[in-house]
Amino acid sequence: MSYPTDLRYTNDHEWLRTGATCVVGITQFAVDQLGDITLVDLAREGDLVTKGQRFGTIESVKSVSDLYAPVSGKVIKVNSALKDAPELVNSDCYGAAWMLEIEPSDTGELEELLSPEAYTALTAEH
């Protein structure tokens, strides 16, 4: 499987798009592992999230998984569409199913994220 080259990744299968702020979602690898998504529960606007800590949960028909923040910072926007249409995660995980927009508190943390090549290597082990 190949992954968008303009994104950074975590070991927990989140992606992050950097710009003035950071947009976060989960990767196609994670989506394939989970199967049909039935529920997405996210942090709220204004919440502070910490790198590596839970910012929400995602449930498929079969299982529930935690979502972990790739960077620390303040949640400035939440994708409320996922509340009523969790299936967007299955159909468009890098686009319509973005989850949070975060204002990072420590841009140094961005350096610790995986490159597309490193993430490809990580998922190839599975």
């Binding site: 394939d32 199967g35 049909d36 039935t38 529920l39 529960d41 949960t57 449930e59 498929s60 028909v61 079969k62 299982s63 529930v64 509340k83 299936e87 299955n90």
Partner: protein, 372 residues
């Protein structure tokens, strides 16, 4: 360690299935259509399931009926030849060794299909309890099992059997030896989805041929191959228990609401004394169905709590199965709770990963098909 494979392993890979380990077996959890579409195919058209991982055994001999009656809670021995009977196998303390279906071929010959994860345990149990009375032959390694379920399943299978209508005329919980798509099968009008259909047992070598014939014949009308994910969501909506989740060695059939499969009047059987006592004394806990209307799913192992009780004594029950409703609204599940909390319509509080969620006790099946 690579898992055991059914004779349909290559067929699953060719269909692009996502395989998981299920009790030591490499099994398809879903195909590219995904669990929700597979589930809906079974409700609206038909679905095809590989359940060859399940165990099978023959019980034969002049004392077979006597042995089966001792082993089972239901009146398996009293059934007519040609009937399939759902039953529990109980320990002397009333705990459930397994739930399974017996097929009575004659008073001296029975076939039984066992849960995959329990097959070794069940065979050891049968040999220990009735091995001296009856010849027990493990057929698990040679037998494949394919379930065809859904409103279109019966016509589909009947057509492949020559279209004479013999199969569609079979009653619920009956079975017959037949030929489907040129493959010798035992066809049983049973299932685990809440829909009409068949479970077809055949020889391993014939399984790929039978599987593709059904799938090809059904494809134009929306028939899909379905994985264990859909099997679980379908059985839960139909409120059929899953051993290892809702039933185990410590739960009794009466607690699990399976009293209909316990025939105390049929004569002695393993566990009977304890079940008679439980019935007289009342139950400590009972398995209830529940529905959650808010956005939450209660899963296996979550606690049912009563926050009005003192700290440390608030856990009053346990969720044994749970998932999103796919053909029914909300999310649904099963939980063991004290009988006082089991009134239909009553509200339960379930601790869903640290968040208290309200659930309503629901009587009966979550989903019941329209019978025509």
């Amino acid at each position: 360690m690579p898992g055991q494979r059914t004779p349909l392993y290559d067929a699953h890979k060719a269909l692009g299935a996502r395989m998981i380990d299920f009790g030591g077996w490499d099994m398809p959890v879903s195909y590219p259509a995904g669990t929700i579409k597979e589930h809906k195919a079974v409700r609206e058209s038909a679905g095809l399931f590989d359940v060859s991982h399940m165990g099978e055994a023959w019980l034969r001999g002049p004392r077979a009926t006597e042995a089966v009656q001792l082993l089972t809670t239901n009146d398996v021995g009293g059934a007519a030849a040609g009937k399939a009977v759902y039953t529990l196998l109980c320990r002397p303390d009333g705990g459930i060794v397994d739930d399974c279906i017996f097929y009575k071929r004659s008073a001296t010959e029975y076939f039984v299909i066992l849960n995959a994860s329990n097959t070794a345990k069940d065979l050891a149990w049968m040999r220990e309890q009735i091995g001296a009375m009856v010849d027990i032959e493990d057929a698990s390694a040679d037998t494949a099992l394919i379930a065809v379920q859904g409103p279109r399943a019966v016509a589909l299978v009947d057509n492949l059997a020559g279209g004479r209508g013999d199969l569609s005329q079979m009653g619920s919980f009956t079975f017959a030896d037949t030929t489907i798509a040129g493959v010798a099968c035992m066809a049983a009008r049973t299932g685990y989805t809440g829909e009409d259909g068949f479970e077809l047992a055949c020889a391993n070598d014939d399984a790929p041929r039978l599987w593709s014939a059904i799938l090809e014949a059904g494809a134009p009308s929306g028939v899909l191959a379905c994985g264990l994910g859909a099997r679980d969501s379908l059985r839960l909506e139909a409120r059929l228990p899953l051993y290892g989740n809702d039933l185990d060695d410590t739960t009794s059939p009466l607690e699990a609401g399976l009293g209909w499969a316990v025939k105390l009047e049929k004569g002695d059987f393993l566990g009977r004394d304890v079940l008679v006592r439980q019935k007289a004394d009342g139950l400590r806990r009972t398995l209830v169905g529940f529905r959650i209307d808010e956005r939450a799913i209660a899963r296996h192992g979550y606690h049912v709590v009563d926050r009005s009780r003192p700290e440390g004594e608030q856990v009053i029950g346990t969720v044994t199965s749970g998932g999103p409703g796919i053909s029914v609204p909300g999310s649904i599940g099963l939980a063991y709770v004290p009988p006082t909390a089991a009134t239909p319509g009553a509200t339960l509080t379930i601790d869903c990963r640290g968040k208290d969620v309200a659930a309503t006790v629901v009587k009966g099946k979550f989903y019941a098909r329209n019978k025509h």
